[in-house]
């Protein structure tokens, strides 16, 4: 229910910015993010468990749960929309504890992950499923940084500009999926009743 304009965020995050964000805020990212899907998460988790060096340092970084399709001729990146966050819930705590500052995906997270996000100061941002053309059009550079053998599931480093997102879980316990819908239930009923009255 925020009436304000989207907040422009330059990556990497400034600590004050992280604190100021609230669930439901519309934001625009500019800077570097990294894609990782199921297989890349499994590889990263294995490396952490075996205490091996990671192909990228999660500290202060942002991971985007997306598997970009191959680029068609003349484009930087194929369609790259967000995938369901819950699938990465088993792996996410390992990376969050390594200092990950932000995650981009869609859909609810488990209560355990929500708790760990808050405790380790990581924000979960939601992108809109099915807006792959829009999201890919905001990618300025793309390169594979790890696990090239995984194809679409390889980790990509993306430089994005004006990448449209919404804060889903903030650092203060705010949760867009768990809080906004109950809040809107009463408002929606009222809105429809008022519309019917005005039509009469």
């Amino acid at each position: 229910m925020n009436e304000k304009e989207p907040t422009q965020i330059q990556l990497p995050f400034d600590d004050d910015v992280l604190d100021s964000l609230r669930a439901g805020d519309a934001v625009r990212f500019s800077g570097v993010i990294h894609t990782a899907l199921d297989h890349a998460h499994r590889e990263l988790a294995h490396a952490i468990e075996r205490d091996e060096e990671l192909p990228f340092d999660p500290n202060g970084q942002v991971i985007y749960y997306s598997g970009p399709a191959p680029a068609s001729p003349g484009t930087i990146l194929g369609p790259a929309g967000p995938t369901t966050a819950a699938r990465m819930d088993p792996y996410a705590p390992l990376l969050i504890k390594r200092g990950l500052a932000g995650i981009i995906a869609k859909g609810r997270r488990s209560p355990e992950v929500v708790e760990i996000l808050k405790e380790h100061r990581c924000i979960y941002f939601a992108a809109i499923e099915g807006t792959a053309a829009l999201l890919s059009s905001r990618v300025r550079e793309a390169s594979v940084i790890a696990y090239p053998e995984l194809g679409a599931q390889a980790m990509h480093r993306l430089v994005v500009e004006d990448f449209p997102l919404v804060v889903a879980n903030d650092l203060h316990g705010g949760d867009i999926y768990r809080h906004n819908i109950p809040e809107w239930r009463e408002l929606a009923k009222k809105h429809i009743a008022e519309r019917d009255n005005s039509e009469r």
Partner: protein, 282 residues
């Protein structure tokens, strides 16, 4: 009686074209409904989501890329006039050839596996799901519905009892929507089939999705029921992308059919905001 002929290549090339175009261009009636919803949505965040959906469709159309990376199952309906002969030895094979070419040449993601327990991709998005209807006249109408996985997964069917009434139909649809929450990618389009038999209700609920957005059932009682269901669904508060708001669904398309005196099938098929369908009459 004069029998018109349509050649196989026409079927192949039209199916190919419909698969590509429906993945790149949203139906005008759907875009209009999104614009209207943006104007009436009281949630600022909800309006922002709808704005992004509209912008996404503009970018996809301009760049000729699919607007969603889930380029779906190709569901193809053929309404064949009785005064037409299609010159082919295997019409289903011709339709699949059209789907194959469309997904290859349109840079569309291949989404189809050999079976739910045999997870190898078929490599060309075939086989399509094909339905044939014989209708009067000398035309062939091809309708392609590109069905995303996420929203189909959130669909459901129930067998009510004849003791139940329209309240129970409304409640069942609301239950399906509540359970789906953000996962069906709202604002959704809701296809509802009531009556017929178990599988025919499901058929109707999916075919109803190919109706133009805003077109009501021609029977006034059923059109009124569509509106009641829409209001009940939009009172859930789920809103665009599940971020809260009034626009949970853009339309309810309901079809009813005669049914056994002891039966009351109700099927609900959801389509996400990437509502892709297109048809051509040959």
């Amino acid at each position: 009686m004069n029998i018109r002929t349509v050649d196989e290549e026409t079927i192949v090339s039209e199916v190919r074209r419909l698969c590509i175009e429906s993945n790149i261009t949203l139906p005008t009636s759907h875009l209009c409904a999104l614009r209207r919803a943006k104007a009436s949505e009281p949630s600022a965040l909800g309006r922002e989501v709808i704005e992004q959906l509209l912008e996404n469709s503009k970018i996809a159309e301009a760049a000729r890329v699919p607007f969603c990376q889930d380029t779906g199952t190709a569901v193809v309906y053929l309404d064949i006039g009785s005064e037409v002969h299609i010159e082919t030895q295997d019409l289903t094979a011709a339709i699949n050839e059209g789907v194959r070419r469309g997904y290859e040449e349109g840079f569309l993601r291949k989404c189809i596996d050999r079976g739910p327990l045999q997870r190898e991709n078929t490599g060309d998005n075939t086989p399509a799901i094909v339905y044939y209807n014989h209708v009067p006249g000398d035309k062939v109408k091809i309708t392609v519905l590109v069905k995303g996985g996420g929203c189909d997964n959130m669909s459901a069917l129930t067998m009510l009892t004849p003791a139940e009434d329209e309240k129970d139909v409304i409640q069942f649809v609301v239950d399906v929507i509540e359970k789906a929450g953000p996962s069906a990618s709202p604002p959704v389009t809701i296809g509802v089939g009531i009556g017929g038999t178990f599988e025919y209700a499901a058929y109707m609920s999916k075919r109803a999705l190919t109706r133009e957005t805003g077109e009501s059932n021609p029977e006034p009682y059923l059109a009124e029921l569509e509106q009641k269901i829409l209001d009940a669904v939009n009172s859930t508060g789920i809103g665009p992308a599940g971020y809260g708001g009034v626009t949970t669904a853009l339309a309810v398309n309901l079809e009813s059919w005669p049914t056994h005196d002891s039966s009351f099938p109700v099927a609900v098929n959801l389509d996400c905001h990437s509502h892709r369908h297109m048809n051509v009459e040959i």
